[in-house]
């Protein structure tokens, strides 16, 4: 049972992490190759605070604020660069985060932070908390999609120059997407830190950023349920099958290639066209 709880917690945290990137990349069309840095910021902020005696539930808002504030700054960069250049800029954020953390003794340097206190309510409690956070974020994402903000995000993702001449304040909407998305990653990071109870800089590197992006692409950019489904499956595959863990990047890379080649809109697109054909 304990193993199932660990799997389910990993799943819930990864869903939250992937949905947070889906706001930036899926909804607003801003490719980010550095999302793990914000996951890491939340993890480090959460771990430091619980080590200082804060209860886990209380560290989630500060973790979101820390990640969201840095997300705001990175979002400012997104106002100046687009497309491939934005991807490279955000990739730089990922390397910058790992490089900086490695050199900070107060953050554990290369060794990282160990002995992160367990959640007071035990593993089942952490699972429930993770499910609640992922569930609330999913509901919020669906709400955003239905709101005028979602409509504006869609137009920016489609063609931001046209969105601008239709009266949409593109830079501000992009910043909001970055802040919402990175705050979500911060919460996921704080939960992750208390799930694994040891974090190091390498847990939040480029590979993690690419992995979460693969989940969003495979699920179907912009779709909440499909991204959640892809995150749920892809997060536990390496735990179920050793060879997936050994060849993770190769397998995820092939899956992304397959999706882009055969169903560019991911699982969501494939299901949609199947339903269309049936009706």
């Amino acid at each position: 049972m304990a193993y199932e709880i660990i799997l389910a917690t990993t799943m819930a945290i990864t869903i939250l992490f992937a949905l947070s990137l889906n706001i930036i990349t899926g909804f607003c069309g801003q490719v980010s190759l550095g999302h793990a840095a914000f996951y890491g910021l939340g993890a480090y902020a959460g771990a430091m605070l619980t080590k200082a005696g804060w209860p886990l539930v209380a560290v989630l808002p500060p973790a979101a604020i820390v990640a969201g504030s840095v997300g705001f700054i990175v979002g400012l960069a997104s106002l100046r660069v687009r497309h491939d250049f934005l991807a490279i800029t955000t990739m730089g954020v990922s390397f910058l985060f790992v490089g900086l953390v490695r050199k900070q003794e107060w953050l554990g340097g290369e060794i990282g932070i160990s002995g992160i206190p367990a959640a007071q309510f035990g593993r089942p409690g952490l699972l429930v908390l993770s499910i609640i956070c992922a569930g609330l974020f999913a509901v919020f994402a669906v709400y955003i999609k239905r709101s005028w903000m979602g409509f504006a995000f869609d137009s920016i993702a489609n063609d931001e120059d046209t969105a601008r001449v239709l009266g949409i304040d593109v830079p501000r909407f992009k910043l909001w997407a970055f802040v919402i998305g990175t705050s979500g990653a911060g919460i996921a990071g704080a939960l992750y830190a208390h799930h694994v109870r040891y974090i190091g800089p390498d847990s939040f590197g480029f590979v993690e950023s690419v992995t979460v992006l693969a989940m969003v692409i495979i699920g179907g950019i912009g779709s909440v349920w499909a991204v959640a489904l892809a995150a749920a499956v892809l997060s536990v595959l390496p735990l179920w099958f050793q060879f997936v863990d050994d060849y993770k990047l190769l397998i995820y890379g092939l899956m992304v290639f397959g999706v882009v080649r055969f169903s560019p809109n991911g699982i969501a697109g494939a299901v949609q066209s199947l339903l269309k054909r049936r009706s």
């Binding site: 709400y143 120059d161 009266g167």
Partner: protein
């Protein structure tokens, strides 16, 4: 009557190239003004400077008494300007109806927080249908831009501009790419959209239609003001004829 749009001594430079030089003009509410000039005269650049898509190196743009020179494009749009672009730019992932509804709801998206707190779209969808009917493509509302011909996309551009409920619509070559029958139909439509609450400033190379529907003309050549006034008087100006038709034609 006070001017709705007042452009004063606008100059736009791209590096060492002066695209628009010291141009001034005024448009009054309810007017349909045509802008003509040879290729490379800086017409589109002037229009883009009015909408804020390019930053003038000097000069001032005043809309409805407010100095909008330093406003970003989106704020100008929400305050009464609309732009129909030369190369139609529909949002390809949206249906025609959604394209127009988005424009219709631009005031709801004045700030992200305001946009986040509002979900109802019924009113905007209803208005969008009306605007699509008005421009004659109401029966295509559920189609995607990739499924309709260029003439319909030109109409969509116009419907989207109308949905912004502007006081001034800037149209950049709306007749380009249309055959003569379509161009005449579109020109009549544009002319019918001008009323006491709305003006249109129209760049167009189709001289026949411009002369037919525009009571006033502004002429620009090599980035400089050439003439502005009633169409018949402007077209009688030998300098304008020389610039537009070539010296030998006058």
């Amino acid at each position: 009557m006070p001017a709705l749009l007042s452009v004063s001594e606008i100059t736009v430079k791209f590096g060492g190239v002066v695209a628009v030089e010291d141009v001034s003009l005024e448009i009054i509410l309810g007017e349909l003004v045509g802008m003509i000039g040879p290729n490379g005269a800086g017409k589109t650049t002037l229009m883009r400077a009015i909408t804020g898509l390019v930053k003038p190196s000097s000069g001032m743009v005043i809309l409805g008494g407010e100095n909008i020179t330093n406003w970003p494009t989106d704020k100008r749009i929400r305050n009464g300007l609309a732009l129909g672009q030369q190369i139609v730019k529909p949002l390809t992932a949206f249906t025609l109806l959604e394209n127009v509804a988005l424009a219709s709801g631009c005031q709801r998206m004045a700030s992200p927080l305001q946009a986040l707190t509002q979900t109802k779209k019924d009113g905007e969808l209803k208005k969008a249908r009306e605007y699509l009917e008005m421009v004659g493509i109401g029966n295509m509302s559920d189609a995607y831009p990739s499924e309709v011909p260029l003439g319909h996309l030109k109409c969509l551009e116009l419907a989207r501009a109308l949905a912004l409920e502007p006081r001034l619509i800037l149209l950049d070559e709306p007749l380009a790419g249309l055959n003569q029958a379509e161009a005449t139909e579109m020109a009549d439509l544009i002319s019918s959209l001008v009323n006491e609450t709305r003006s249109i400033f129209l760049i167009e190379h189709n001289l026949r239609e411009v002369i037919r529907i525009c009571p006033k003309l502004y002429v620009q050549d090599q980035g400089r003001y050439l003439d502005f006034g009633f169409t018949s008087e402007v077209m009688a100006n030998p300098t304008v004829r020389a610039a537009y038709l070539g010296e030998g034609m006058v």
